[in-house]
Amino acid sequence: MHSKHLIYFCLCALLFSACDNNDDSLPDPEGPVTFENGIFVLNEGNFQQGNSSVTYVDPAAGVVSHNIFEGVNKVPMGDTATDLAFFEDHGFIVLNVSNTIEIVDPVTFESIATIDSDLHNPRKIAFSERMLYVTNWGEGSDTTDDYVAVFDTQNFELLTKIPVAEGPEDILSFNGNIFVAHGGGWNFNNKISVITGTEVNKVIEVGEVPNGIAAADGSLWVSSAGLPDYAGETAGSISKIDLGSLTVEKTFSFPDAGQHPANMSHYNGDIYFTLRDEVFSFSTSASELPTISAFPIEEVAYLYGFNIHEGKAYAASASPDFTGNGKLFIYDLAGGNLVGQYDTGINPNGIFFND
């Protein structure tokens, strides 16, 4: 029996000595412990791998901090982050697969609360008068269980669930109304819901698969991708909706079925959108779509997030196979020059500012 023990011991010793456990899968944040005046990049991570993160970039201070939520709070942020927003004294992060909303102090990123009930496939978030609105797909395969959940922004308790059409995605708060773009989730849809208070006040039909909304000068602007080729490809379109009458005032249709616009934005009296790897802009009073792009964003491997802020365009690029770190590219809006680039976490899908 002695020989047996010796054998076990030797085998264990041999194999354990070959094994080292260094868990460096997520780096600690570097740089400041407060996050002000900078750029927040939301990284979706990978489905069911729990590696969503926020990267903080302060170009003026030359600071890049990765994974700030986990760094500050010592717990993973969650799975598949889809939106981040700042409202009053709080930061809100929507985690689609975790079915949670993390609420943090916007300056320190310390966790304040977590909403972990009444969410089902939550997507995007908006605020109006002490109320938090978040779009929910429900079951992806069920076309009738989609809703907008409304929570109190002070105590984070559910106020109501508003049933809406299939696939509510982008959401925008403007002048007391909440506008919801129904891209369709797992399916396709072509609607904008207008919510006033806790009621759907109107449903407006737009082009197939609305994927971006912006409000400017009395109008709501909606980019619709059009159908992808496997569903009988159709060209995208841009709808201009009159905010007074809540009717479509004009539809700008793209000429080629292969054209699928995205990332509708408004800045300084102009409308911006992206088409493949180019940024286009046109005036809110234009009668035609622009035919020439404002500038290309060729550095982007795969455009996954986009924003325009204070004279700059921010483009988030996922790594080519979506497994590794992405990049943030910053362009000067006037000339389209690349003025900065930074590493981000995995699959950056949004760029946000706390102002």
């Binding site: 020989s3 085998l11 194999l15 997520l26 791998q49 496997y230």
Partner: protein
């Protein structure tokens, strides 16, 4: 050496069980009588073949994943115990490991892989691991290597039964019945097994448990062998697997989904021998069917179902007692349908192959080639050439060069959003050089390999946001594998050791980065000790660190697992009591990110032989 052992074993079994036929037929015919996968032992002498013993199968958990990860160089990634598990062999992808059931390739038509947690080892007499290229003999996916699940017929043994019951942590239950009846010319085998678990183990260092990870698997196998006359044999095999499982949540997300597998495999085979010819006709019918429920409490599901018919004809002609030539013809038709496909999609494939084996002891060489025609893709000409040379009776060297492939799957070709009919098969050119030391109680092998793969199929995002399969990447894999085993008996004490080690480098040739989920080091070791009715064993597994992102920025750390088991036999070995402690050191580890695996757990077993 492994091949030789098996051959001796087969001959031994046959001589004991079946003296009449053994005398009538030449020894070369014997493997065909008892085993359907004739090429595994007869035409694979220039590849390394590792056969796992029954005792090894009994020591491990019922699913194929467990036995292979603790006893072979294969690396597994698992979404948790009982969840989806895929293998990587020599750093290749999950669909470049072929699973061969009684000589028939059973990888899924949908994703080209086998989920190793949907195969129970119960009912198989032999589990073998054939390293290296084997597409000429086994078709698509035999690039890294192939896993062989075989039934073997024995004759003149009467009725034998084995019942095994196991119970352990997380309400894990297992029960199996293996019955075998044989007379002079008929052999019947029946195996029924059920394996189920709540699988709700606590996540280490967390207040969470493994949520929604329950599973329940049933498997039924039946094999019938009938010796019609001295020159004709008829065989029938069937295997049915029925598995229901929740797909477990993760550290940061719960889950409500459920997955059902219903797979059946059927094979009829007729062997006949006349003059110097051996003829073998096989008809196989495979049916795979899955259902995925996003929410297990609701009736909505998506599904896929594929039915495959195979007809295969092998004709061997013995030029002399030392040389044989075999022609192989095969036709395969697959039809698949499902929620993610429009209508019924069909794929036809025909192939013709030629195999020449020449034994010039101490040199033996094998040359083979296969041409294939399909209505859905263009196949390369496949070949394999190898030689083995025995310098002494205990030392031999093997060399093999081959071209192999992996065909586009139904998902790659027909998926409603992105399916691409212009895909080419993945192609590999590979070589290996092995040496074997073989003594009466010590075996050792060391095999170096290199695999150059091009046209690797990947789903990549297009600019329109759609993921599309494309032939994109080139990979270069190289490394070596080693296996060793040693037994010694000192008076009443029996001591045994075995181990495997694989060193693997797998590089994306365009980025020079290491491919994800390929550990540089993987090792296994086991030790056994037996005295009278008592035996004990220790199993150790080491998986090295793996990259989880193609930029090689993110990793999962390596880990070492150890299991310790005890068995006690009584009533003249008719009853066996067993106890095994898994993960005795309570190692925290993850096989996939955000999915902690269980800490220490216990399982007991009771086995009756009658």
């Amino acid at each position: 050496m492994m091949k030789k052992n098996v051959y001796y074993l087969l001959v031994f079994v046959l001589l004991q069980a079946f003296p009449a036929h053994a005398q009538l037929e030449s020894l070369q015919q014997l493997p065909e009588v008892i085993l359907s996968d004739i090429h595994l032992h007869r035409s694979s002498s220039t590849n390394h073949v590792q056969v796992l013993k029954d005792s090894v199968l009994d020591q491990n958990q019922p699913a194929l994943t467990s036995v292979l990860k603790f006893n072979s160089p294969l690396y597994f990634r698992e979404n948790g115990p009982g969840m989806v598990a895929s293998a990587s062999f020599r750093g290749t992808t999950a669909s470049q490991t072929a699973v061969i059931w009684n000589g028939i390739n059973i990888n899924s038509q949908f994703n080209g892989q086998t989920d190793f947690n949907t195969v129970l080892t119960s009912g198989f007499d032999e589990v073998a691991i054939r390293s290296g290229g084997g597409s000429v003999l086994y078709g698509s996916g035999a690039i890294g290597g192939s896993i062989h699940l075989n039934n073997r017929f024995r004759f003149n043994r009467g009725l034998q039964n084995k019942i095994q019951l196991r119970y352990g942590s997380f309400d894990t239950r297992y029960g199996s019945l293996d019955s075998e009846y044989s007379n002079e010319d008929l052999s019947l085998q029946l195996a029924v097994a059920r394996h189920q678990s709540d699988n709700d183990f606590p996540y280490p260092e967390s207040d969470k448990i493994n949520d929604n990870g329950d599973f329940s698997n049933d498997q039924l196998s039946l094999s019938i062998g009938y010796l019609i006359d001295q020159n004709n044999t008829l065989k029938f095999y069937t295997n049915y697997f029925d598995g229901d499982r929740g797909f477990s949540g993760t550290l940061t997300a719960g889950s409500k989904s459920k997955y059902e597998d219903r797979n059946s495999r059927n094979l009829v085979e007729w062997n006949s021998y006349f003059r110097n010819f051996k003829s073998n006709v096989r008809l196989a019918y495979l049916d795979e069917h899955y259902k995925y429920f996003e929410n297990r409490e609701r009736d909505n599901f998506s599904y896929g179902r594929a039915k495959t018919g195979i007809i295969k004809y092998d004709l061997r002609y013995n030029l002399s007692s030392k040389a044989g030539i075999t022609g192989i013809l095969e036709y395969q038709n697959s039809r698949g349908e499902g929620s993610n496909f429009s209508g019924i999609n069909e794929r036809n494939m025909g192939s013709a192959g030629l195999l020449f084996i020449h034994d010039l002891s101490p040199l033996k060489y094998e040359i083979s080639a296969r041409a294939e025609f399909s209505d859905k893709y263009n196949s390369p000409l496949l070949f394999s050439a190898g030689a083995t040379y025995s310098f002494t009776d205990f030392y031999s060297v093997k060399l093999n060069v081959s071209r192999n492939y992996r065909i586009p799957t139904f998902n790659d070709l027909f998926w409603y959003s992105g399916g691409n009919l212009d895909l080419k098969p993945e192609k590999s050119l590979q070589a290996e050089l092995g040496q074997n030391l073989h003594f009466s109680n010590l075996n050792f092998s060391l095999t170096g390999f290199i695999i150059n793969t091009r046209d690797l199929l990947r789903w990549v995002p297009s600019s329109g946001g759609l993921w599309l399969p494309e032939n994109t990447k080139k990979a270069l894999n190289y490394g070596f594998e080693s296996t060793a085993d040693w037994q010694i008996k000192i008076q009443e004490h029996k001591i045994s050791f075995s181990g495997t080690y694989a060193f693997t480098k797998a590089m994306d040739q365009s980025s020079d980065k290491t491919l994800i989920y390929v550990p540089m080091h993987k090792g296994t070791a086991s030790a056994g000790y037996e005295i009278k009715n008592f035996s004990t064993y220790l199993q150790i597994l080491y998986n090295g660190e793996v990259f989880t992102s193609s930029d090689n920025h993110y990793t999962l750390p390596g880990y070492t697992l150890s299991n310790l088991g005890f068995n006690y036999n009584f009533l003249k070995d008719r009853v066996q009591l067993g106890l095994v402690v898994q993960n005795i050191f309570d190692q925290e580890y993850q096989s996939m990110p955000s999915r902690p695996m269980p800490g220490r757990s216990i399982q007991s077993s009771l086995t009756f032989n009658f």
